[in-house]
């Protein structure tokens, strides 16, 4: 089985990518080939997107040369809204989401798909949704699932929405980053157990009272 490629590089060691984009044109210009490659190879694709942009997403996939109706009809391509994937109860629950990822990958294997490629647009995390504060911890923990199953997953972020703290945490939580169309292994990737420890310590630091 061939290794997947993204932005001209092969994914053979790490599979969890944090992708930063400045525009949707840039996003689809970079990821379109990744999506098409997987579908052309008979793999499964799961795309979790903004419900308001689902039609636009399908249009852009078609522009990338993907036969969207056929792939959806065959069950090869699944386009889900945030509400149907991340926010099923109206809030984000990292434990639920981790189980969902595991289940999706297992079901795809049962359906004889040799590989699943997951893409999640993460803009929901900046809309004040309940549970958004669990995002980074989820990103850290999902590494275990993706490393165990060796299935590629891309988390798509709009750089304009990110604070500096979030940029740092996202960079530390992903073994691969895609910035300015360049994919690279992340030398500042922090092992998940260490990252979780730091985050919990940060959360439990007492607030300062006025003197």
């Amino acid at each position: 089985m061939q290794d997947p490629t993204l932005a001209g590089k092969t994914l053979d060691r790490y599979f969890h990518v944090c992708a930063f984009f400045n525009s949707r044109d840039e996003e689809y210009g970079t990821l379109g080939q990744f999506y098409k490659e997987g579908l052309d190879w008979g793999e499964k694709a799961l795309h979790i997107v903004n419900p308001a942009l689902m039609d636009d997403h399908r249009t852009r996939l078609a522009t990338a040369g993907i036969d969207v109706p056929h792939c959806e009809h065959e069950g090869q391509l699944q386009v889900l809204s945030w509400e149907d994937a991340n926010l099923t109860s109206g809030a984000f629950d990292q434990d639920v989401m981790l189980r969902t990822v595991d289940d999706v990958l297992a079901v795809a294997l049962e359906q004889s798909f040799t590989r699943s490629r997951i893409m999640g647009n993460m803009a929901w995390a900046f809309e004040g949704r309940p549970g958004s504060d669990q995002l980074i911890e989820y990103e850290v923990r999902v590494n275990e699932v993706l490393t165990r199953t060796r299935q590629p997953a891309i988390c798509v972020y709009d750089t304009a929405k990110l604070t500096g703290t979030m940029m740092m945490d996202l960079l530390r939580a992903h073994p691969l980053t895609l910035v300015n169309g360049v994919l690279q292994e992340n030398p500042f990737f922090t092992p998940p157990d260490q990252m979780l420890q730091q985050m919990r310590a940060r959360r439990s630091a007492p607030a300062m009272a006025s003197a």
């Binding site: 930063f20 400045n22 750089t159 304009a160 990110l162 604070t163 500096g164 703290t165 979030m166 940029m167 740092m168 945490d169 960079l171 530390r172 980053t177 910035v179 300015n180 030398p187 500042f188 922090t190 630091a205 607030a207 300062m208 009272a209 006025s210 003197a211």
Partner: protein, 551 residues
């Protein structure tokens, strides 16, 4: 564990890092690499946002309870403050004394409303000439040597990021100022062209042919000037990609035909022989027909200008590997090897050419490249050198031949003919502060049966309206004191539901101008010099309404 020995606050040396544990060094290295990876992620942000991002990033690495970055670039100082990771507003009254003190404090601690905090700072720029980054923490032992490394790295990155953000902001301001200037220039240049064109058409209609040669010379030069003005207005928008293409499937042959019509007068003037090898069918592209014709016309114009009179020009189109390949080849002066890489850049011309009577502004090829790129295609130039002709090649993705092709398209060439239909019964008010323009337009419309009155400003128009009761008003937008938008509103109020139709005739032709005109109640927006065909259609609509109105 004893505290590490105190270290100089400003410049930690290698000896101090030797006291750090391997784990601390590894974490420091990782955090340092993360900080260094940040600049590409905030490249689109303004100066203040860059500073905020860097402080937030530091909060992810250091036990920061208070941070302030102050930049002092002379006339425009900037300061970003974060207190307790953003949970306290920087405007909180109790923190103002701390904020004021921190930017000049060199002591290792600082008093704050939440107690005494340990302080560290790093300079921005050489010897701190550009400002200072200050961080305070309640943590004992702060700052360690590795923490100081991160602080200095953040200061350095903030300084560099700020410089870049400022340069980009200034460049954007300059580009906008240039766009505004070009738009105003285009508007001002279009105004005198309008009455000249109308006068020429009247001369043609009335003349006995004795001054026909001179009239044709003026007509050609006015057309040329009009194209230069259009290029000036286009160049800024097109090269920045700020143009909406109205794409539709179209045969390349139709576009080539249109382009040749646009350039025909120049080809005739220079007595060039033109060969066209373009299949009528089977080469369909998804393109804006007007803009693609502009590309081909620009290439043909260049070929015509840079080929000695009586030369050969060929246009050929073919399909190849999923692309339409269109070539414009000439037998002209060619392009030197040093000019060839720059030939599509703005304002580049072969300055050694002796033939400069139709020199132009050096915009045509830059516009062509931008338009082709916007269409998802490529454009390239080839030449064997000076005196050996040139070949310009445009490649565009071909569309499936199964798609319905728009038969012809709305972009018929602008016809410089007077209105042909009789418009008896129309009462037309023309308002333009360009006296010649208004008078010429009134004369042209009168010759086709319209009753006309002219005014040269808003107040004059309101007086004429009251007495003349026009059914249609042609308004310039750039009127003195009361602009066309305001005048439209006041005429509409005076008309009180009488059915007055408002048409804008203006040198402002951007999409925003059209939208504004529509919002102001204009039903049509015509660009000077007026396309009389378009004006004719507007008037005909009015004539139809007048004919069906009950007596």
């Amino acid at each position: 564990m004893t505290e590490p020995p105190s270290v100089p606050l400003a410049h930690p040396g290698p000896a101090s890092l030797a006291t750090s544990t391997p784990e601390e060094l590894q974490t420091c290295l990782r955090d340092l690499l993360s900080l260094v990876a940040l600049p590409p992620l905030f490249r689109e942000r303004g100066p203040g946002a860059v500073l905020t991002v860097m402080i937030e990033a530091l909060e992810a690495c250091l036990p920061v309870d208070f941070a302030c970055i102050q930049v002092d670039p002379g006339a425009a100082p900037e300061r970003v403050v974060r207190i307790q990771r953003g949970s306290v507003s920087p405007d909180a009254a109790e923190w103002q004394a701390t904020i004021a003190a921190c930017t000049s404090c060199d002591a290792p601690t600082i008093d704050t409303p939440v107690g005494t905090l340990r302080l560290a700072h790093a300079p921005l720029g050489y010897r701190g000439t550009r400002g200072r980054l200050v961080v305070a923490s309640r943590e004992g032992g702060f700052p360690t040597s590795t923490q100081l490394v991160l602080l200095h790295a953040a200061a350095s990155l903030a300084d560099a990021g700020l410089g870049t953000a400022r340069v980009l902001a200034e460049r954007e301001e300059a580009l906008q100022a240039k766009d505004d200037f070009l738009a105003m220039l285009g508007h001002e240049l279009r105004n005198p062209l309008a009455p000249i064109e109308t006068a020429l058409l009247l001369m043609q209609q009335r003349g006995d042919g004795t001054l026909e040669r001179e009239r044709l010379v003026i007509q050609r030069q006015v057309s040329h000037l009009g194209r230069l003005v259009d290029d000036l207005l286009d160049v800024s928008r097109v090269t920045r990609g700020r143009i909406d293409l109205k794409k539709a499937p179209i045969e390349i042959a139709q576009v080539v035909t249109h382009a040749i019509e646009m350039v025909a007068p120049l080809l005739d003037e220079r007595r060039h022989a033109l060969e066209v090898h373009v299949p009528q069918h089977g080469l369909t592209v998804d393109a804006d027909p007007i803009r693609l014709a502009q590309v081909i016309a620009n290439l043909l114009t260049n070929a015509a200008k840079y080929t000695e009179p009586g030369g050969q020009i060929m246009v050929r189109a073919s399909g190849l590997a999923g692309e339409v390949v269109l070539e414009v080849r000439d037998s002209g002066m060619g392009i030197s090897a040093d000019l060839l890489p720059r030939v599509f850049d703005l304002f580049v011309q072969d300055r050694r050419s002796l033939e400069r009577t139709n020199g132009g502004l050096g915009l045509g090829l830059a516009i062509a490249r931008s338009l082709v790129t916007l269409h998802g295609g490529t454009i390239a130039a080839r030449s064997d050198g000076r005196g050996r002709g040139s070949v310009f090649e445009v490649r565009l993705p071909v569309m499936s031949p199964d798609l319905a092709v728009v038969p012809g398209y709305g972009a018929s060439p602008v016809r410089r003919e007077l209105p042909r239909r009789a418009h008896a019964g129309l009462r037309v008010l023309i308002v333009d502060d360009n006296v010649d323009g208004a008078e010429m337009l009134a004369t042209a419309l009168s010759m086709n049966g319209c009753q006309t009155r002219v005014a040269h400003d808003g107040l004059g128009a309101l007086r004429v309206f009251a007495e003349f009761k026009p059914t249609i008003a042609l308004l310039d937008i750039g009127l003195p004191v009361m602009d066309g938008y305001e005048l439209a509103g006041r005429l509409r109020a005076l008309d009180a539901g009488g059915g007055l139709r408002l048409i804008a005739i203006t040198g402002y032709g951007q999409d925003s101008d059209r939208q504004r005109a529509r919002a102001a109640g204009f039903e049509a927006h015509l660009i000077k010099p007026v396309d009389f065909d378009a004006l004719d259609r507007v008037l005909a609509g009015q004539a139809t309404a007048a004919a069906t109105k009950p007596a």
